[in-house]
Structures are given as structure tokens and as C-alpha cells.
Amino acid sequence: MTQQAEPAVTSPPAPGPSKESDGRTQQRPLALRLLARPEVGVFLGAVAVLIFFLITAPAVRDGSSMANILYQSSTIGIMALPVALLMIGGEFDLSSGVAVITSALTASMTAYQLSMNVWVGVIVALIVSLAIGLFNGWLLVKTGLPSFLVTLGTFLILQGVNLAVTKLITDNVATDDISNMDGFDQAKAVFASSFDVGGVQVKVTVVWWLAFAALATWVLLRTKYGNWIFAVGGNQGSARAVGVPVTFTKISLFMLVGFGAWFVGMHQLFSFNTVQSGEGVGQELIYIAAAVIGGCLLTGGAGSAIGPVFGAFMFGMVQQGIVYAGWNPDWFKAFLGVMLLGAVLINLWVQRTATRR
């Protein structure tokens, strides 16, 4: 089971269950200790939302509906993971939503304009996406500016570049259809296929999402790099003082977000064949929201990789659940907001109750 790792540098000695305890270091009951973990609150919130929709929207009980909800959650969740790691590391990235589209546009236009195998486009897009992350991280570390400013800048740059370059190259504001090009079917199999589980079509992105989450959890809790992430997010100065490579950690976290943007961008490209250059705006807030709901602090230093999985699931569940429940569509966004706030409050209440006493 995962837990919130303490920042390596600032962690106090663990209150071990010593026999001659004077009461101050006494172990609290297991249930309370469990509830104090950041992902348990969101887990309960997600379960509450799930039960709510299972009751109010009978269609949700169907297996294929659940597959659809999981698909929606996975496209948010794959990005929410690196975004969450970055937040644990004390920074956030406003450019992540449009960066997804930048990656998809790059892959599509490279392959199409040069009439290359689509894998060439996929690799060029990966390089571009990592370079965007590198640029974000490098500028942040180099200048010491807050990540809000740096990534707001890249957000605007990418938004403009997406549109202008696409228009310049294709003479349209959307890319051309690449579905009949060499390598498309293989790439689709990797990024956008689906498979059958007991008669239900499950999207491959769901598998990738859970695999990435498992990997991120392992990295965060069992590796030196994971400790570095908590350390730079908790207290950058003392982290540096004890020899944590702060610069490397921050830049690599931004590049990880670039990797996520590439992956989701490829999914969009290979499931829809073309990309409109104006998409993606506003998605960055959804990724950040999924991470925050998942227990990552906006101030850094705390959080988990499994929390954002439930955060993204909650988003997907609410967004699709409203449709399954057949509620008046005019209220769609309001419903979404109310459900999310409710879930966050449950999350908060659980944690407060658990850590009091």
C-alpha cells in the first residue's frame, strides 16, 4: 500500500511503537492512521460519487458504461500523474493542456508533410514535447521565476504557435487526415486501440494509465529520485544543502509532464486522425484539479501518485454520470462543479477528522 513519503530531509524520527511509551508517541488506531493518508480521502470521495451514480443512473451499472467512464478518466489521468509529481516537487505547469495538442500537431504534420512513416512523426513529437518540458524547467531554474509566470508564458506561446504554424504549413487550422499512411495501424494499436474483456470493449489507455500510476508510485516511494521530489517540494533550500540535485529534479519533472503530453497527444491523434489547432485550452486546469483532489498540495511537498488516479476517476465519473443520469444538460457544468466541491470537502473532512487528536 502506498503512503505519503516524508520529505527525506525534514522528516522527524518516526514514532515507532516503543514499549516504554509515555503516551506522547503512542500509535494512533490503525483506522485513523489510514484515514490520514492523502489518497484515502479521495478514495472515499470517489467511492461516494460512484455509489451515488450507481443509484441515480441505472445505465452506469452496465459494464460497457464503466469502460467508457474509465476511458474518459484515463485521458485525464495519464496527464494528471506527471502533473501531480510536478506539484509534489513544488511547481505546476499551465502549458500542459495545449502541450498535448502541440505534440499531436507536430506528429501529424511531420509525417504528412514529409510523407513519412507516421512513427517518424511520433518520435519527432516526443523530442519536441520533452524539449518544451526542458525549456520550462530550465527557464524556471535559471531565472528563479515562479512556475506560474514561466508556464503561463509557454502556454500562450504554444497556443499561438499551434495555430500559426498549423495554418502556415497546412493552410488550414486543422491537420490533414493521416489514417491511410504507413505505420498508422501500429501506432493506433499502441496509443488508441481497445480490447475485449468479457464482452466489454476496454480502451488501451486505461491499461497505460494504471501501469503509469503503478510505476509512478514505485518511483515516488521506493527510489532515491522519489525522495528528491518530496525534498525539493518540501524545502528547496535544505534539500540543496543535503546534496539533492534540485536543478535536475525540477527540470526532469517538467520533462515528465512533456512525456505525458506526448502520450495523450498521440492518443488523440491516432483515435481521431486529425487535430484541430485550437483544442486543449482549459485542460491544464482539469489535470491540476485531478491532482489536487487526489491529495497533492498546491504548495508542494506532499501527495501521492495513486491519489490523482482516484481524482481523475472522479472527474470522469461525474462528467459521464451526469449524462447517464439524463439530467438537464444546461446544468452540466454546474453539476460538475458541485459534485467536485462536494468530493473535495469529503476528502478534507476525512483528513481533518483523522489527524485531529
Binding site: 510523407s115 487550422v173 540535485p245 535536475f248 485550452v281 444538460p329
Partner: protein
């Protein structure tokens, strides 16, 4: 400040390796599709007028990266090239900003202004300012019920409600019983009017569905969700070409029997109509809207004409595109002008 970059030196060889890999892959070019397979086509061109050069501003409420508005702009550019007009294009989805852009055009002392009236009230002041300076103003695309009140000279576009009604009638002919109208931008008046028009004439049931238009995976799963909750739905009505193509995927995924109809065209959509993935599209001919708006200002300046006589709008739609006529339209759509 710390200047310690232990890993960045390792990055350079990595980038070099990736680049090398890309170059190796470059050996395998695609044998199908791609730019090489694209057929060339000339733009509509009819020589060039020898009238004195004039300047016209086109100010729309386009949001960035929308295929529809790109076609409007191409029409305007074609007319400008033919009429020896210098075209100044600007756009902003925020009504206040759009009004500022019109003010900007007035300050530049242009010879004519073409605007969209997505939010007519916000444009009232600048339109009267332009008129006070003697600059003719025409409207296009949205505002078919408002252009006269604001004192615009002419209007080119489609009545969204009328277009919706035409689509509703078409659904009746197709024997549809239950339709869902997919709105990709919650609160957009034009989109709401289209769905309302469908509701007016369609004899079966129609329900609206809001989706998040900036996130395609979300559009796809939301439509899939809707189709799964209600297997009686036999028509999905999309309000834009990219959303129609996604809706067709949703129908597939939900295992639904529903057919897809849409408003507006683009070059992928004509292919989908040919293949039968999409039944038909209501085309409001955005190219024509852009073209006529600029051409009309040229005509007014050089010959004093105004189309519609200042009384009636010039309707550019609804024109239906389906299997019967898609062949002729397809080659224009491929160039991104239809």
C-alpha cells in the same frame, strides 16, 4: 544561486541519439497518404479588378483554431485579391474585445467594415461610430435578426433557426424518431438556435447534449454515454464537422444504430459522407459569407450597389450536402474552401 547541472551534459548525447534514430527512420517514407498524395488544386480566381486600391476590415468573433472560420477567411481573402482590396482580418471571441478591434479599424480609416454580430449589443456603439465617419458596415454569419436594427447595410449568412428547421424536416423524411443535438460550446446562441430549430419541425423527440468542445476524447465518451443510456436514439445531430466525425466514432463504440447528421462541412467530412459514415450535412457556405461581405463593400464603393436592397438578408444556407451531391463538392472541400 546554484549553477550545478550534473545531468544536462548527459542530455546532449541523448538528444543526438534520438535525432539519429529519427534520421534512420526517415528512410522509411509512407507509401500511401501524406503530402505527396495530395491533389493540387487552384484557388477560385477570376482575374483582378483595376479599381483603385481600397482597405476593408473583417472583424469576427472567431476563437482560435476553428476550421469553420478559416473557410470564411479564405473566402474573404479570395474576394480581396480579386477586387484589389487590402484586407485587414482580426478576431476575438470576447465581445468587448471584438468591439475594440472594430474601433481599431475605424481609427485606421478603412473604406469598409464587415463584422459578425454574435453579441449585437456590444457592437452597437462602434457601429454607430463607423457610420458617423461614413464607413459602410456589413454583417455576416451571426446576427440575422439584429443587423437591420443596428443599421448595417447588408447581411450575409444563414438564419440558424431556419437551418435547424430544415434539418428537422429532413429528419422527418428519413423517418427518425428520436434525435440528440450535440452542443460543443455551452451557451453559444447560434448553436442553441440550431437545436431549437430542429426541435420546432422535427416530429420525433429531440434532446440537447452539452459536451466539452476543447477536449475530443471527452466529446467522444460523452456522446457514447448518451447513446448507451438511450438505445432509442436513431439520429445524432452535430453542430460542427469535427464533432460529427467524432460522433460517428461514438455511434460505433456504443454499438448504436443511430445515424449522424451535422451542420457545416470540412474536407474530412465530405469523405465521411462519401463512405456513408455521416448521412448529410447542412452547409451554410462560410466561404460565400466571407467572399460576399468583402465583394459587397467593393461593389458599394465602385457602383453604389447593395445586395438585399438593405431590406432582406442574403441567405447563404441551408444547403444540403449528401451522397447525391458530395462528389462535386468534395474537390472544393479538399482545398479547404468549402
Amino acid at each position: 544561486m546554484d549553477r550545478y547541472y550534473p545531468r544536462s551534459r548527459k542530455l546532449a548525447p541523448m538528444v543526438a541519439m534520438a535525432a539519429a534514430a529519427a534520421l534512420t527512420l526517415a528512410g522509411c517514407s509512407s507509401s500511401s497518404g501524406g503530402k505527396q498524395a495530395e491533389e493540387g488544386g487552384e484557388n477560385a480566381s477570376a482575374g483582378k479588378a483595376n479599381t483603385p486600391r481600397m482597405t476593408v476590415a473583417l472583424v469576427t468573433h472567431q476563437s482560435a483554431g476553428d476550421t469553420f472560420w478559416d473557410i470564411v477567411r479564405k473566402g474573404a481573402e479570395a474576394a480581396a485579391a480579386k477586387d484589389n482590396v487590402k484586407l485587414i482580418y482580426s478576431n476575438d471571441p470576447n465581445a468587448g474585445n471584438q468591439a475594440n478591434l472594430v474601433q481599431n479599424a475605424i481609427d485606421q480609416k478603412v473604406d469598409g467594415i464587415a463584422i459578425t454580430l454574435a453579441k449585437p449589443d456590444a457592437m452597437k456603439d462602434v457601429v454607430s461610430k463607423a457610420k458617423a465617419k461614413g464607413i459602410p458596415v456589413v454583417g455576416l454569419n451571426s446576427g440575422v435578426s439584429e443587423w437591420q436594427k443596428l443599421g448595417l447595410m447588408e447581411f450575409f449568412g444563414q438564419d440558424e433557426t431556419v437551418a435547424g428547421e430544415a434539418l428537422g424536416k429532413r429528419l422527418n423524411e428519413a423517418g427518425a424518431k428520436k434525435a440528440v443535438c450535440v452542443i460543443q460550446e455551452q451557451g453559444n446562441i447560434g448553436l442553441e438556435q440550431r437545436c431549437a430549430g430542429v426541435k420546432k419541425t422535427f416530429e420525433g423527440d429531440v434532446e440537447n447534449l452539452n459536451v466539452n468542445g476543447t477536449d475530443m476524447p471527452s466529446v467522444k465518451s460523452t456522446i457514447t454515454a448518451k447513446l448507451k443510456t438511450d438505445s432509442d436514439i436513431d439520429y445524432v445531430v452535430a453542430l460542427g464537422a469535427p464533432y460529427a466525425l467524432t460522433a460517428a466514432q461514438s455511434v460505433d463504440e456504443a454499438g448504436s444504430k443511430a445515424k449522424v447528421a451535422t451542420f457545416d462541412l470540412n474536407n474530412q467530412l465530405t469523405g465521411a459522407i462519401k463512405k456513408g459514415d455521416i448521412e448529410f450535412a447542412v452547409d451554410q457556405q462560410p466561404y460565400l459569407q466571407g467572399y460576399l461581405a468583402i465583394d459587397s463593400l467593393w461593389l458599394y464603393k465602385n457602383n453604389g450597389n447593395y445586395m438585399g436592397g438593405g431590406e432582406a438578408p442574403v441567405l447563404t444556407g441551408p444547403a444540403f450536402v449528401d451522397k447525391t451531391n458530395v462528389e462535386t463538392i468534395d474537390k472544393f472541400a479538399a482545398k479547404g474552401t468549402r
